[in-house]
Symmetry: C2
Subunit: 199 residues, 2 copies
């Protein structure tokens, strides 16, 4: 009933994260009515993604023509304070806060079964090499900014075991009631953490 180009579009786009068959269908109908040059612009946006690669230092996506990402290249960022994060989107959120003046290491997401992934192990080895290349051969602080949950706890403990000789301090993000949140509506686990980690 629907032309195969549309079916094909819906099938391909349904597979992308965050886009289900419903959204893909709506998108397909919407797009068909757009002018040719808009569809070409969207198509180019995909192929252009091929010109990016990962920063060799922190694994953030960077312009392929640049040697490092904008953060690692920035001389005002503290190379001795490294935030360890799981996903690039976590980095964007932390950057938006403007409260981290150090650098980053993106580790990749922790598998749901709760083991440290092969990618994470590889990245942590790279982090050791990176720390040994610092003038002091030791970091001032590793901020383990991973999910405030059991998986994150496991990853933190793994890192704490491995990096004792590589840094003066290992910290985690504070845990408790979100600023502006209501105690009344706080779940028991958050409240437990907020009580245990009271300031």
């Amino acid at each position: 009933m629907i032309p195969s180009t549309i079916r094909n579009f819906i099938e391909i786009f349904s597979r992308l994260p965050g886009i289900g068959p419903r959204a893909a269908t709506r998108l397909a109908f919407y797009l068909t009515e757009l002018p040719t040059h808009t569809k070409e612009e969207l198509a180019r946006a995909f192929t252009n993604l091929d010109s990016v690669d990962l920063c060799p230092t922190c694994k953030l996506i960077k312009d392929g023509a640049q040697a490092s990402c904008a953060i690692c290249k920035n001389p005002t960022r503290n190379k001795n304070v490294i935030a360890l994060i799981e996903k690039p989107t976590d980095l964007l959120t932390i950057e938006k806060s403007g409260h981290h003046k150090g650098t980053y290491m993106i580790l990749g997401e922790t598998p749901q079964r709760g083991m440290v992934s092969e990618l994470q192990k590889k990245r942590l080895e790279e982090l050791k090499a990176r720390i040994q290349n610092l003038p002091e051969k030791k970091a001032t602080e590793l901020i383990v900014a991973v999910g405030p949950n059991t998986l994150g706890d496991l990853l933190y403990e793994h890192i704490a075991r491995e990096f004792g000789d590589y840094t003066q301090a290992i910290t985690r993000l504070g845990r408790g009631i979100p600023t502006g949140g209501e105690i009344e509506f706080t779940d028991p686990e958050t409240l437990r953490d907020a009580l245990q980690r009271r300031l």
Copy 2:
């Protein structure tokens, strides 16, 4: 901080319906790690959409190489019973039910301010011409399958006024409690309609 190709991707995709900046960002990071040929496949899916156009009869999207859409082309579909709908996705849902054996006319969505849009007026004029080309020069039934709300009521009344001479009957979709729904959780407006239109 992010390469311009990624920023560009996020900006373009945030503008599409159903995809906000958050989903576009997540998508961009996801896509950059895919192989080149996958990105090219996605790009092609966009440019391929250019090969479709609208069925001259019912305005459903069709393969540009075909004269009509699959429904209008189908000799078993009743050309004298026409369902008037707002959006192509409504057509897909009705087709999935398998209970409409007639044809369609897609009118376009009713503007929120509640007037019949210029596009709808144009399509309704085309529908009159289409009906006059039927062997009987009159439709058997026009099923006004538009939203069960005030905007839909206005559109129905407009169509009922205009098409008195063009069809033997004008009907609307039944209104009431959804099959399988709970009376206990039915909102007052639906209950009012269900009581007024009791069978």
